[in-house]
């Protein structure tokens, strides 16, 4: 009986106008979105490669002229454009994607303005996640809002239930059929997108990409299941399909507009962080204190004499300055991270936001990637510093007084760039991604279960007359 | 007076819904149009109301051609549809008020509406009740009340007693008789032979778009109307 119901529902859905319009719309957006992505990506890739070549050249020159210059030189690392950003860009352009570092420390991060046009407003990229989060979720609500209340009005519900059909079976059959129809509807769009990618050859489809695509399709299916349960709930709450529609639209607006929009406000009100001014003044105060307590001669220097005793004082002083500044900055950064994570927590009321974060985790982009690079960069910097100290130790012309900002008292010899540890950006591991994703997976499953359970309970008492 | 002169309607899919209908309903006369589903009864009413255009022929209401001057023609006709739905969120009186204004009666007061509703034996408690809570019989009564208020010389009714219980149907017929006595021309399409026999001055049987038989009251009271009707219907089946 369940199979019959599912079959009937799917036939009905496939012939409906809603499916046709959704299909056309999603095909269009998949096509345009992927085409735009391909253009953007090749441009970004080119720009990145140019930057990389310059970066390596610059570092090579520094390393070969004087290793100290390499260790002390402040550099900016930019993130590689992600090949899987056609699935989701995970707000990569708005999250910090540039890191300032030297051999002695990782100083901070910022958002690259890149080729951003300040006269263009912020926008969402038309990637797979956007299509599913906005268009598909809307379509699912439109498929489900009158699945019960509409049938009641047409009087076919009473007709069906005049037969020995358990209510649970009917409800579940409708539920499954909507999910299957929606997933079926995604196939042409995703197929088109993949075809565009393969034909243009801009993006190499590796095993990892296939795994990520599979993972994404899994969470997309989970998302569709979740939204369908809310759609079902809206249909079962009311006896009138018009009211069901209103409820469905309200829920959709809540998920898509209200929750994401107000997230920042709630976060800033409930979990404020200290201001940049207060951090700066803390740093200034720390510098002043260090200045007061620094021994005389801490600022003396002589370009010609590395072994000038004041150089050791200067090196210590600069090291102290760096440490006190970075302690304050790192505390501030941790506050920022925490606030951002809390902001995300506040948006879990919307399955659409949760789906966004899951997509980010699956593709290893956005915040997950940021944290990975942040950690890896720190680890690499430690490696680079150790290497530098090792090479410096071998130089008798160096007093080995390590000064994080200046060239006075460490080796002036160059080194073979091939031996210098080079930072390789690695994608987040499965473990990284899963540890970010599992709370959101649980939440989605919880929402689905609650919404479906409520629908079930309400449908058992639903008046079909 | 209602007149159909060679009224013909052929739809785009070549279905001949009405074939040269010639019909006249005089003042103070109730003409019942009988026929199977799809025989052309509702099409006739739709043509009189200018809801569709005739392929050929003319429909006249009080001598006004409904195709040439529909707005003028509609001043002289009231209509009661098969399933009177009206505006569910409005009360009975509010519905009457709206349709009365459309029908040209602008100055009626609450008491007037109550009086009309009493005339058709609507229960008092229903006067200010929302229409979504009305039974079918009550809704049909409200439908005829709209026609009474408009007080047009011609009335078109489409299956007015279908789905009504015998008591409600009898009350409805009584009201129609009253209106006939006010010299109104009434064209009523129905399956209900019993009511048709009870009320009609003349009866016509439609079959596949044609008016195949017309009998006056004296004639069909003599004959067995049910038998004739069924015979015609069986021929249709055959």
């Amino acid at each position: 009986m369940l199979l019959e119901i599912i079959f009937r529902e799917i036939c009905h859905n496939v012939l409906s106008l809603r499916l046709h319009i959704s299909l056309i719309l999603t095909l269009l957006i998949f096509g345009v979105g992927t085409a735009a992505f391909v253009r953007n990506y090749s441009g970004e890739r080119e720009e990145y490669n140019r930057w990389k070549v310059e970066f390596i050249e610059k570092n090579r020159k520094l390393a070969e002229s004087s290793l100290t210059r390499l260790a002390v030189g402040r550099q900016n690392l930019i993130l590689t454009p992600r090949a899987n950003a056609f699935i989701t860009d995970a707000r990569g352009k708005y999250l910090p994607n540039r890191f300032e570092f030297s051999g002695y420390n990782v100083f901070g991060f910022s958002v690259r303005p890149g080729g951003a046009n300040p006269y263009l407003s912020a926008f969402e990229e038309l990637n797979w996640m956007f299509i599913i989060a906005i268009i598909i979720s809307f379509a699912v609500f439109l498929f489900t809002f009158d699945t019960i209340s509409g049938e009641k009005e047409l009087r076919t519900l009473s007709q069906t239930l005049a037969n020995p059909v358990p209510r649970g079976t009917l409800l579940f059959g409708k539920y499954l059929s909507v999910i299957l129809t929606t997933l079926l509807m995604l196939v042409p769009g995703i197929g088109l997108s993949l075809i565009i990618l393969l034909v243009t050859g801009t993006v190499a489809i590796t095993t990892e990409t296939i795994l990520e695509i599979t993972g994404f399709l899994f969470i997309a299916a989970l998302f569709v299941i979740c939204i369908a349960s809310f759609g079902l709930l809206s249909s079962v709450i009311s006896r009138s399909s018009k009211v069901s529609l209103l409820i469905a639209l309200t829920i959709w607006l809540f998920f898509v507009v209200i929750v994401p929009n107000t997230a920042v406000f709630w976060t800033q009100s409930l979990f404020p962080v200290q201001s940049v001014e207060s951090v700066q003044s803390k740093i200034q105060q720390a510098f002043l204190d260090l200045e007061k307590n620094a021994p005389d001669g801490s600022w003396s220097s002589s370009g010609n004499n590395p072994f000038l005793p004041q150089h050791e004082l200067r090196a210590n002083h600069q090291t102290n300055r760096m440490n006190s500044q970075m302690n304050i900055m790192n505390a501030f950064y941790n506050e920022m991270f925490r606030q951002f994570e809390q902001a995300r927590m506040l948006t879990i009321f919307s399955p659409v936001s949760v789906f966004e974060y899951l997509s980010e985790a699956v593709t290893g982009g956005g915040y997950v990637r940021f944290q990975k690079v942040w950690r890896d960069l720190h680890a690499w910097q430690t490696q680079l510093l150790a290497y530098f100290k090792e090479v410096d130790a071998k130089d008798p012309a160096s007093p080995h007084w390590y000064n994080p900002y200046e060239y006075f008292s460490t080796t002036r010899k160059g080194a073979n760039y091939g031996e210098v540890p080079v930072f390789k950006e690695k994608a987040p591991t499965f473990r990284d991604r899963f540890s970010s994703a599992w709370p959101y997976l649980l939440i989605t499953v919880l929402y689905t279960a609650v919404a479906f359970f409520l629908s079930f309970v309400l449908f058992l008492r639903y008046d079909v007359r | 007076m209602l007149q159909a002169i060679d009224l013909t309607k052929r739809y785009e899919d070549n279905l001949l819904a009405l074939d040269h209908l010639n019909l006249q309903v005089k003042e103070g006369e109730i003409f019942c149009l009988l026929g199977a589903n799809g025989a052309g009864k509702t099409t006739t009413i739709n043509l009189f109301l200018n809801f569709i255009e005739p392929t050929s022929g003319t429909a006249l209401i009080n001598g006004v051609d409904v195709t040439k001057d529909p707005l003028e023609a509609k001043k002289f006709v009231s209509y009661v549809s098969e399933n009177v739905m009206l505006y569910g969120n409005f009360t009975a009186r509010q519905n009457l008020d709206f349709f009365a204004k459309l029908g040209g009666k602008k100055d009626l007061k609450k008491e007037d509406y109550h009086m009309y509703m009493r005339k058709v034996s609507l229960p008092e408690m229903a006067f200010e009740m929302r229409l979504k809570n009305f039974s079918k019989g009550m809704r049909q009564k409200l439908g005829i009340t709209i026609a009474i208020i408009k007080d047009a010389p011609n009335i078109l009714l489409d299956e007015p007693t279908s789905g009504l219980d015998p008591k409600a149907a009898a009350e409805f017929i009584k009201i129609l008789k009253g209106m006939r006595d006010q010299d109104k021309s009434i064209l009523m399409c129905t399956h209900d032979i019993f009511r048709a026999k009870e009320i009609a001055d003349r009866v016509g049987i439609m079959k596949e778009g044609r008016l195949v038989m017309v009998r006056t009251r004296d004639e069909f009271l003599e004959e067995n109307l049910e038998k004739i009707y069924l015979e015609y219907m069986q021929e249709a089946v055959a």
Partner: protein, 532 residues
């Protein structure tokens, strides 16, 4: 009769569930959005305050070469209603001799935590557009099809009523329904603003809001016509609402993003880095010309140091206490370099201009594509009315460029490049020779450069001998900031309401004509509408 139909429609809508839910939605969304916008505005205000302070500080300079006035565009309180571009572009412009102002700085929505920029927020007008358009569609999608299904349509048309009158009555009825909702939204917004301590609107702002209200009415009128038209084309209400809702999602959620994304992807803008490199090359050319000229001049005896020399990133510097020949040398050099610097700024400008034109082309493409969506037209008109649109910002930047010319004229007229005050406040008559400086500072221990070198060789104590006696007036800090009361001040008139209205008249016209066209098409469709 039209009135009867309109009143019937109005009352019918009033008691329906959609009115209640729509009302509730507005009740929740409007204050929430405004509070969020006001919060963001507070952040912008903080940034503005600190920029203003910096601008004031930029005038506290002792020498003219360090004078880089900063100009800050005043914050528009109406940006609470619609941000336009005002939160993306910065509001600070530095006036430099060596470069014309290209873009303002300090942009991007100011949040202490850059991660929070990953959360987009919609402004009041966007939320209003979403809500109003949805409600308009929900109230009109079944104007014809719904009544037909109900059976009341044929009952109505069994009376002597023309189709145009009926349609008009319907439209007026829906207007009567939605007018109070829109008014309510604006009144609620006004209440929230009045109750917020950080925000104060002047009369101009309130009038602008009034005009905005009228434009909102026009917008939702257009949305109503869309719903009406679809209802007149389709016989089934269910089909009608499905089509309406997909159109709604397309125009409000997809098209705005699509137009910007397509513009970014398909309209090329050369990279900022490339432009910066090209500008740097021109600067290098300037620097090498200066170097060349410098080499052609006779080098003064520097001694082994500069006293109190502070250089800046724009080639500005300040010095005091240097030997007279050194000062004269710089004085002569300035008369070559500074006018040349201004010439090189003019050389850089064509490159900057073409970059700006590319940005504008990309933006125009996005804007034109987005005009397919009525809500985007509405938003663009709203941001013009609130003074947060691109053209207002362009006029601000134009004004800063004009101001730079005034500033340069001020320098030229006052012959500042030819004045010592360009780089030092030490009066020229107080300048001392190198030997004199050495003698006085060492307290007579050494009397000239030669003796100093000898002393250093013997004593290995670096320069401490030169710190025995201080010469007053040989430190930059000894002098007060310049008196700039005769310097031209930057003034800029923000657009007037009438001016802004004129600028967006074309967009309002688009909304009105689209509405009229749709009504006409609805009427044409409805005349043949099968009422059975």
């Amino acid at each position: 009769m039209i009135i009867s139909i309109a009143l019937k429609e109005f009352y019918n809508n009033l008691v329906s569930a959609r009115f209640a839910i729509g009302f509730l939605l507005c009740l929740v969304l409007v204050p929430l959005t405004l509070i969020v916008s006001i919060n963001d505005y507070k952040g912008k205000l903080r940034e503005y305050e600190s920029q203003k302070k910096e601008a004031e500080n930029s005038l506290q300079v002792r020498v003219y070469s360090k004078l880089h006035p900063e100009v800050v565009r005043p914050l528009k309180p109406l940006s609470i209603f619609t941000r336009g571009v005002s939160y993306n572009v910065g509001s600070k412009v530095k006036i430099l001799l060596g470069e014309k102002p290209m873009l303002s700085s300090g942009g991007s929505l100011v949040r202490e935590n850059p991660f929070l920029n990953a959360f987009f927020s919609m402004d009041f007008i966007t939320i209003l557009a979403i809500t109003l358009s949805l409600l308009a569609l929900l109230f009109t999608y079944d104007s014809c099809s719904g009544e037909r299904e109900q059976g009341t349509l044929k009952l109505v048309f069994s009376n002597s009523l023309g189709r145009a009158k009926f349609l008009l009555g319907k439209v007026i009825g829906v207007c009567l329904t939605l007018l109070p909702i829109t008014l309510f939204c604006y009144l609620l917004a006004a209440l929230v603003i009045i109750l917020s301590p950080q925000v104060s609107f002047s009369v101009m702002e309130w009038i602008s809001i009034g005009v905005l209200f009228v434009v909102s009415i026009i917008f939702f009128g257009l949305c109503m016509m869309v719903g009406l038209f679809i209802s007149c084309r389709l016989r089934s209400s269910v089909t009608s609402i499905i089509v309406c809702l997909f159109i709604w999602v397309l125009f409000l959620f997809i098209l705005p993003n699509l137009s910007t994304y397509a513009a970014r992807s398909f309209i090329n803008v050369s990279s900022r880095e490339k432009l910066d490199l090209a500008l740097q090359e021109i600067d290098s050319e300037f620097n090498s010309k200066c170097d060349q000229h410098q080499k052609s001049m006779e080098e003064p005896p520097y001694g082994m140091w500069y006293w109190n020399y502070w250089g800046g990133e724009y080639g500005d510097y300040e010095e005091a206490g240097s030997p007279d020949l050194v000062m004269k040398y710089h004085w002569q050099l300035n008369q070559f370099t500074e006018p040349l610097r201004i010439d090189y700024a003019d050389k850089k400008w064509p490159l900057q201009k073409s970059y700006l034109e590319e940005l504008d082309r990309q933006r125009k493409f996005a804007e034109r594509l987005s005009l397919l969506s009525p809500s985007e037209i509405f938003r663009l008109a709203a941001s013009t009315l609130c003074g947060t649109d691109v053209s207002a910002h362009y006029s601000f930047l134009e004004r800063t460029r004009e101001y730079r010319e005034e500033f340069i004229d001020f320098f030229k007229n006052k012959k500042i490049f030819e004045s010592y005050q360009y780089f030092t406040r030490q009066p020229p008559e107080n300048l001392m020779t190198l030997d004199e400086i050495i003698r006085v500072r060492s307290g007579g221990l050494v009397n000239n450069q030669q003796e100093l070198s000898e002393w250093q060789r013997l004593n290995k104590d670096g320069f401490s001998v030169l710190f025995k006696v201080d010469i007053p007036g040989s430190h930059n800090e000894d002098y007060e900031p310049l008196d700039l009361s005769d310097m031209p001040k930057f003034n800029w008139q923000q657009g007037t309401i009438a001016g802004n209205l004129k600028k967006c008249l074309d967009k309002i016209g688009m909304l009105v004509s689209a509405g009229v066209l749709l009504f006409f098409l609805s009427f044409v469709s409805f005349v043949r509408y099968d009422v059975r």
